[in-house]
Amino acid sequence: MADVGTLNTTAAGIDAVAPKLGEGPSGPRPRPAVSARNIMLYGTLIIAALYYLLPLYVMVVTSLKGMPEIRLGNIFSPPMEITFEPWVKAWAQACTGLNCDGLSRGFWNSVRITVPSVIISIAIASVNGYALANWRFRGSELFFSILIIGAFIPYQVMIYPIVIILREIGIYGTLTGLVIVHSIFGMPILTLLFRNYFVSLPEELFKAARVDGAGFWQIFLRIMLPMSLPIFVVAMILQVTGIWNDFLFGVVFTRPDTYPMTVQLNNIVNSVQGVKEYNVNMAATILTGLVPLIVYFVSGRLFVRGIAAGAVKG
């Protein structure tokens, strides 16, 4: 952990004006609470924060305006008259083709896709990572290296072979097929995370469990899993966002009645009826991003911890 030392490193850097003479400064501490350093530090942070918040602000503000107001111009000005009409429309009324039920249908489809995909891809990747970290066998590292290199392959390249494979297995177009696709493309990074995490756990723990008579699955389920909350949170966040936000697979590997929310979003945003309804688009955009955003806000702290444990080592 960075500590007081670090803090003062900076403190000293900027605050070179502290009294220097042999004269005993016996009074109060000579360091003001609002120092030049703090102004710099927080100033920079706040400016950076503004840059990051700006688009969100624009999205929210726009989604609350009426179209006439948007046409007037300034995207940064707060709404003169707040209307929730765009939200209602985005959620329940916007049309794609003949379907005019907005995002609501896609939402539940997304849930139906995301939940099993996240669970299964994490389950597979965590077991892989565990096997790689604790039960190496001949060739395991080779497969792992292939997997990591696979992380660099653009998805588009893989679509065709996968379509063929799924067709041959006969699960093309089913939810199972989509879950498998998500598991496959989540595997490289997740396996890397889990492997690094399990490697960082003390090996002696694993040995102790073996001496205690626990086998491959028992050690995994009863010893490793309960200790892996942070990395599971990281995996969960990455997968929830990845899968929830996925457009390509969702559209290629499902059918219209199971299209995820992003496809719906694309339809709404790209089905322009005359003028683009920016307010509805923004509302739809926010609604679509809401689930991963909430996941982040709730578990952000664990995310950093997990990242520290899983990504940095190894």
Partner: protein, 388 residues
């Protein structure tokens, strides 16, 4: 029976038109399951093809009229509609007959054309010209001449959206208008690279160069946003297919008073006969196959044709329907059609691959003022030389 139909008709006018198809189909006791995918054919087509090749085909799907589904047919993935076509005598009613030819492979018919779209239209905003204080032009040359006045009034002379097919389409239109039907056919039908490199086409590139200059400042992507610039008078005109009419209609504008349409850019009154067609993947389910037949039949039903094409702003594929309700522009189109001043659409003449290469070229040309017309023409000739 439920039949899933995929298409990329999602803009306002399009969606209204699809609704007519669905209504007609539902009236036969079946059910139209709508599978719209927004974002133009470029986004939707791969998805449709993946599903057909992936073994999870839909009941029917839209493709552009032309060669897009050729290989699917050859791979035996599509349903043979010859039975329906013979029963319904499509050969007799569909006009121009080239439409049905495009559906025919090895003597069998694989698709049901639903409409004719022509590209060769210049849409002008009357309000914009009024504001600029010039007459509404009657042909391309006048339009080019009026451009400075429009610019001075803060109006973009020509609206061109950022999507690559718009620039390509505009060029094809200019070719017909400037160089004429024969040259067009020599280049695209016969793939004559010499002509493509020749002086006739150089003139076309000159015109395209004008268009490029006039299009500066239209910061929009989608074609209908560009149309909207014309509708709102922010732009003087747009070269766009007849589907743009749907947008004008939706905005409550009337041809003649609010906007003006110039087929063949007012120079050469020739229109192309591209369009949309429905293809029917081969299904195992007997019931559904039967429903596919019903749908095919419904699509070409005169009543459906009228209802659909009125909303869509396109021309019906059969010559025997009454389009009394059609507006001025549509009537102009029908007239030209009647006269037989037609050419085939580039989608029908060129493979998707060549089309894509053309798109790459023209979207670059339109966006990059430093690319000279001569350079562009050289590349164009190259594409034609290797086209299939």
């Amino acid at each position: 029976t439920d039949l899933e139909v995929t298409h990329w008709w999602t803009s306002g006018g399009e969606a209204a038109a699809v609704a007519e198809l669905a209504k007609a189909f539902d009236a036969t006791g079946n059910h139209w399951v709508d599978g719209a995918i927004a974002g133009s054919g470029g986004t939707a087509r791969p998805i449709m093809i993946s599903r057909i090749t992936g073994g999870d085909p839909m009941g029917a799907t839209q493709f552009n009229h032309g060669r897009q589904a050729e290989e699917l047919v050859q791979a035996g993935l599509m349903r043979d509609l010859t039975d329906v076509a013979t029963a319904e005598k499509w050969k007799d009613i569909i006009r121009p007959s080239s439409l049905l030819d495009s559906c025919t492979i090895d003597g069998k018919i694989y698709c049901a054309p639903v409409n004719i779209h022509s590209w060769q239209w210049l849409w002008l905003s009357n309000a914009a010209f009024k504001k600029a204080g010039v007459e509404v032009p009657k042909n391309w040359d006048e339009f080019v001449a009026a451009a400075p006045a429009l610019e001075k009034a803060g109006i973009i002379p020509l609206a061109v959206g950022g999507q690559p097919w718009q620039a390509t389409g505009a060029f094809d239109v200019l070719m017909v208008a400037v160089a004429g039907k024969d040259t067009f056919n020599k280049v695209f039908k016969d793939k004559d690279a010499e002509v493509a490199a020749g002086p006739e086409i150089a003139k076309v590139f000159k015109a395209a160069d004008d268009a490029r200059r006039m299009a500066k400042g239209s910061n929009v992507q989608d074609w209908n946003q560009a149309t909207n610039l014309v509708i709102t008078g922010k732009a003087g005109g747009q070269i766009m297919g007849d589907w743009a009419q749907g947008e004008f209609a939706l905005a409550g504008q009337r041809a003649g008073t609010d906007y003006t349409c110039l087929p063949g850019l007012g120079v050469n009154e020739i229109i192309s006969t591209g369009g949309d067609a429905f293809y029917f993947p081969l299904l195992k389910d007997e019931e559904k196959s039967k429903a596919q037949g019903v749908l095919a039949k419904t699509l070409l039903d005169p009543k459906t044709q009228v209802a659909f094409n009125l909303k869509k702003g396109s021309l019906p594929v059969r010559g025997d329907v009454d389009l009394a309700a059609a507006n001025d522009c549509m009537k102009k189109g029908l007239e030209i059609l009647q006269k037989g001043n037609v050419i085939q659409g580039t989608d029908q003449l060129l493979s998707a691959d060549s089309q894509k290469q053309k798109e790459d070229l023209f979207s670059e040309f339109f966006a990059n003022p430093s690319m000279t017309p001569e350079d562009a023409q050289k590349r164009f000739a190259g594409i034609i030389a290797s086209a299939d």
